[in-house]
Structures are given as structure tokens and as C-alpha cells.
């Protein structure tokens, strides 16, 4: 195999390996600030010991009471944060 052909095959593999995911995933992630609201408010909620305690007992209702959406991504992310 020529060096150029081998190089091209590696380039092509690299391009395929790092292709973007479906546009819907990107669009959903781009909407996270809209879904969760402004960062300072979210940070205030998460910093509250009362919220943390309630979240450990019942993530969905704690989020709902705090006015945050109980998306699976947010529940998983907060579980990791509070671990």
C-alpha cells in the first residue's frame, strides 16, 4: 500500500470517527440554557442544602418544586454533582 493511500485511509477513518451526532442532539443540547433557565438561578438552587436534601430523597419532586425541569439528563447530572 502506498504511503499516500495509507495516509488517506487514516484521514478518512479520523473523519468518520469524529462526525457530528444527529442534528437533533445538538439542537437539544443548545437549548439547555433555555430549558434550565439562567445559570445564576440554577446555581442558587443547587447550592441550597434544603434542595440537596430533598433531591436525594426525591429528585423529580425536588426539581419540580424548584421550578426546574426533571429531565433525565439534569437528574443524572445533579446526582453526579451531589455524589
Amino acid at each position: 500500500m502506498s504511503e499516500t493511500l495509507e495516509d488517506d485511509e487514516r484521514l478518512i477513518e479520523a473523519l468518520r470517527l469524529t462526525g457530528d451526532p444527529p442534528q437533533a442532539w445538538i439542537d437539544a443540547a443548545a437549548l439547555i440554557p433555555v430549558t434550565l433557565g439562567d445559570l445564576a438561578s440554577v446555581e442558587r438552587v443547587v447550592a441550597s442544602e434544603e434542595f440537596r436534601s430533598r433531591f436525594r430523597e426525591s429528585p423529580e419532586s425536588a426539581l419540580a418544586d424548584a421550578g426546574l425541569p426533571a429531565t433525565s439528563a439534569l437528574v443524572a447530572a445533579l446526582r453526579a454533582e451531589l455524589r
Binding site: 504511503e3 499516500t4 495509507e6 495516509d7 488517506d8 487514516r10 484521514l11 478518512i12 477513518e13 479520523a14 473523519l15 468518520r16 470517527l17 469524529t18 462526525g19 457530528d20 451526532p21 444527529p22 442532539w25 445538538i26 437539544a28 443540547a29 443548545a30 439547555i32 440554557p33 433555555v34 434550565l36 439562567d38 445559570l39 440554577v42 446555581e43 443547587v46 429531565t71 433525565s72 439528563a73 439534569l74 443524572a76 447530572a77 445533579l78 453526579a80 454533582e81
Partner: protein
């Protein structure tokens, strides 16, 4: 983990995200979507539905941690690390469901490196002129045929082939100029 991949440069993107600039946030997501997807699918071999959940979790965690990040430069390393944590948690939970063996985290090192090195090629693609970039993206990333590309761009199939060939040459040249060390290691080992 990210010794060979540096993120796409951007002016004060983190600061702009923190102040509620949704376009800046969309740029951050767009700049790193290929990295996260490449790691989730290419390195950790997650199924599409798991990869989609993990993708959203990575960016949700990033949003929650924007206050801790100081520089755009630190983003790719941070995102790669979080992607790793999210993916391994998911794999562990799946393994528990299957009552399987302990997770061998070391087995992911080589595929992780391959994805991170591949991101340099991806960045080089982004630097190509629009026409060449589009050709390579359509043919190699989106898997479109010569015929489809030719029909959509209203050009002969032979022109598609020659443009792809020329674009690959330009991509190789760009990599040699931008990062001769990386190019030598990743393309000539």
C-alpha cells in the same frame, strides 16, 4: 487524555455563556459535539439511545459547571473527562444489570486516544475552504454517494471525484503545516 487535541479557539466564549448568551452556548456545543459523539460512539461503543442520553448529560453537566471554568482552552480536556465519567457510569450500570465482570477502564485508553487524535483531523477539515470541506463531509462523514453529491450540487460525478481527491491532498498538507509532530505520529506510525 487530551495531549494532542486542542479545542476550537473562541473569544471569551465561557464568559459569554455565563452571562446568558445562548448563541455562545450553541457555539460551545457545536464546537465539541464531534468530540463528545466520537468518544461516546467510537471509544466507549455506546448504543445510539445510550449515547444520546449521555450526550445530553455531558452538556448539562458542562452548563452547571460553567462557573468553575476559566478558559476556553480548558474546555476540551474537561469535556473529555466528563464524557469519560458519564460513559463509564452508564457502562457500569449496564454491566450490573447483566451481572457481568468488573469494568476494565484501561481497555478504553487506546480508543480514547484514537478519537482525540482524530479531532486534530476534524479541526483541519474545519480550516479547509467551504467547497473542499463540504466534499469530504458529504462523502466520508455523511456517506453520500458520488451520484447523490453530483445531483445535489448539479455537477458531474467525475468532478465530485476530483474535488474529493484534491480536498484530501489539502487536508494532508494542512495537517503537516499545522502540526508536523502530530502528523508524523498519527499518520506514519
Amino acid at each position: 487524555l487530551v495531549s494532542t487535541y486542542r479545542g476550537v479557539e473562541g473569544q471569551d466564549l465561557i464568559v459569554r455563556c455565563r452571562t446568558g448568551d445562548h448563541r455562545a452556548w450553541a457555539t460551545v456545543v457545536g464546537n465539541h459535539a464531534g468530540l463528545v459523539n466520537g468518544l461516546l460512539r467510537g471509544a466507549y461503543r455506546l448504543e445510539p439511545h445510550d449515547a444520546e442520553d449521555a450526550f445530553q448529560e455531558v452538556f448539562t453537566r458542562l452548563y452547571l459547571r460553567l462557573g468553575d471554568l476559566r478558559e476556553e482552552r480548558a474546555l476540551p480536556g474537561w469535556i473529555a473527562q466528563v464524557t469519560r465519567n458519564v460513559a463509564l457510569d452508564l457502562i457500569r450500570s449496564r454491566k450490573r444489570e447483566l451481572v457481568s465482570d468488573e469494568l476494565d477502564e484501561g481497555s478504553f485508553h487506546e480508543p480514547e486516544q484514537r478519537v482525540l487524535e482524530a479531532m486534530s483531523v476534524r479541526q483541519a477539515l474545519a480550516r479547509l475552504p467551504e467547497q473542499q470541506r463540504e466534499m469530504l463531509d458529504r462523502f466520508f462523514v455523511q456517506d453520500q454517494s458520488y451520484r447523490t453529491i453530483a445531483a445535489e450540487l448539479s455537477i458531474p460525478a467525475g468532478t465530485v471525484a476530483s474535488r474529493i481527491s484534491r480536498a484530501l491532498v489539502m487536508l494532508r498538507e494542512d495537517l503537516r503545516e499545522e502540526n508536523p509532530v502530530l502528523e508524523r505520529h498519527s499518520l506514519h506510525e
